[in-house]
Amino acid sequence: MLAAVDPSIVVLSAITVLATIFMGFWASRKSKSAADFFVAGRGVSVGWNASAISGEYLSAASFMGVAGMVMSSGYDALWYPVCYACGYLFLLLFIAGPLRRFGAYTIPDFAEGRYDSPLFRKIAVIFVLFIGIFYTMPQMKGAGTTLAYIFEGLPYWVGVVLVGAVITFNVALGGMKGITMVQAFQYWLKMFAISVPVFVLVLVYGSYGKQLQVQGESGAEKVVAALDADPELARRIQPAVGGGRRVQLGATPGGALNTSAQFLLSSYDALVPREITPWRQTFTSPTSETTMMVMPVPFMIYQSATGRRTFWDTTLASLPAFPIDMRYTTNTPDAEIVSRLEKALLQNHITLVAGPKNSTIALSTADAERLIAAPNGSVLRAPLPAKAAADATWLNPFGPLTSKAAKAAKIEGEAARPYALLYTYSLIIALVCGTAGLPHILVRFYTNPDGAAAKRTTMWVMILIGIFYVFPPVFGVLGRNLMPDLYTGLTGVKGTDAVVLKLPTILKARYGVLGSVLSGIACAGAFAAFMSTFSGLLVSMTGALAHDVYGRILYPKSTATERMQMFKWCAMVVGGVAVLFGCFVEKLEINFMVGQAFAIAAASYFPLLFMSVWWRGMTMMGAAVGMLTGGICSLIAVALTNASSLATDPGAMGRLFAGFKPLNAFWANHPLLRILCEQPAIWCVPLAILLMVVISKLTRAAVPADIRMKMLVLHAPEQLGLKQDYIKEHEGQLH
């Protein structure tokens, strides 16, 4: 079952996991107490701190999901990396400095301090758990996908359970606290792991711009232009109709088919399973008595069912007919048939290039390389399967991602564009506002010495993650051109979410072990990504559960040791729940799920922070009602969308969520409602803010008495020493 494990990939991944666990334990032994974690961290320089925040922020969604989504959806998916990075600008402009001055460590701390209300703290804590769970699901999907890739044949859920268990125990035993140095190391590891494979791939296969150039009609035209520039090559290229390449079939085990049987390699077509089935029947060998079937693969794959034309380099005809191992049974997976055929093409130095007007050009690899090197910069491009979005919709705005709801309602073309525009805006609002509300990120701002340093740190975070986010879309574009078979599967190793891990292996054909090493580096980065984010979330959620829910709400009289004990149990519970949910989401795209977690954060925490910092008229009642309504509305909306899309799954998930199936018919009739549920930020964020304003006005009397002092602490520079006055005043109240 676990065949073909690549040693370099396993070794590099194992080193990352062990190094992370070791560093976590080593560093947390050095800084034992919570006070150490926060206060000693205050000495941390802007550079270290910015690396650490970036390290914690860049999750499986950034590392794997963005590339996968750009590959599957094209331009529209670019909003994700851009807004992930630009969300920090909102944080910088409105929240980072004041919040640091206020000196609360977490959002619940802030909620309590700003409104002098322990009750509000409890309400705020609940959302740490909601957002956290939604954010761990995509991390788990990343873990399952990566392990299923490294150990071919391993079921998705085994990877989720394995990684989830390792990290949970690690957190429960006290490793992986948010230690600055470990997180900073994780950032640089991820940066290295994403950029090095991209640089190598781009050097070999052509630049980012060249890769994009071949998208769309003009891209195919470029192949023609390249052929025009090389008249000798162009003369040799002829339509392979009625006289193509002959492929010799190997013998079947029972000798069912004569080895001298030869078939014509005719037009190349999409590698789609449904097109394979009829050929299986047609070509059953007459002499075969059992289930053994003879599969003339080239015919099967290269049939010209959809009118795709194949052009053939006539020099290839001078090659001797090449044999392909044709021993297949009815149970042989299509993927294996395809991979055997590809291997045979590779061994015989034949490369397939997408040509103009739905055509494929079969060239000798040497000629294909001359095409790459052509002065006007064409790039090799494998033909796209039918499942992939067409060039025009992929390359341009308002493509498959944003117009999905309209398409389900049979609204196409011009009429679908307003829906797509609405989707785009709602997505932007969710991502930009949601960044400010992630529970595990704000904590890090308190390791800055003062508000000015908090602002500088935020700017460096934007630069560090901005540079990082240029790379995943390049992976997506390269993947579309070079590894389009990823489009045919949506899950595990076959889906586009695996493109970052899998793409470097195409270098194996030319450079041998380099491809494996680069793929191993990418896997190491993926481990760093989901381990750091999952650990950070687990620590935040467990802390909320153990200290707030258990320690303050359920058993306020519990001792410190009891709470420490509880922390371990809570870690197990939260980790278990995260693993459980993670097993359900194999069919959902990583990045899509993270976007939803952002939408919940955007409608709950962001309005709370933004309004509390800048409007002194806010009351606890207003803040609580606005935050709860906004957050719960978006939570329900995204949960409904996910349940309805899981209901369409043909497998076990579909049966589990079958009750939500009628919802899909409803969505098809109401595309607008579908968009508002899938991307709820556009109505949930304003709703939350509106409720905050209205309710605060109604309960005006409840504005904290020392509001002016609180505002001064939030906004006045530290040098004025107002913080000390505030603390003195509060101590006065306490005694």
Binding site: Y75, F90, L93, K210, L212, G377, M462, W614, M709, H715
Partner: protein
């Protein structure tokens, strides 16, 4: 010493001081946010109303891909840099102003 402390503290804690403090910072934040939002919310509109222009090719990229996938990041860094410079300068000015007030309120011999 004692004679001037309450006076400056009074100023610090006055309504006018807080209002001025918040208004200055907020004005700067809103100006920067406006520049950012113009670009962020304007790009989908450009895509919507001028698709031919935005799908024009620049060095292989479509114009809109180049703007969003590459150039947007440095643009945001620029806004962040301007904001931080101005914002820290503003804070320093406030501190200087308060300290100047302190020394002005020092009793003249």
């Amino acid at each position: 010493m004692n004679s001037r402390e309450p006076q400056s503290a009074e100023h610090l804690h006055s309504e006018a001081f807080l209002r001025q403090l918040m208004r200055r910072q907020l004005r700067l934040s809103i100006a920067c946010a406006a520049a950012f939002l113009c670009a962020l919310l304007g790009l989908p509109l450009l895509n919507y109303f001028a698709p031919e222009l935005m799908s024009g090719r620049v060095g292989g990229f479509t114009l809109t891909w180049l703007l969003l996938g590459v150039l947007f990041f440095p643009f945001v860094w620029l806004i962040a840099w301007v904001f931080i410079r101005r914002s820290i300068a503003l804070e320093n000015a406030e501190v200087t102003a308060v300290q100047a007030q302190k020394s002005n309120s020092r009793p003249q011999p």
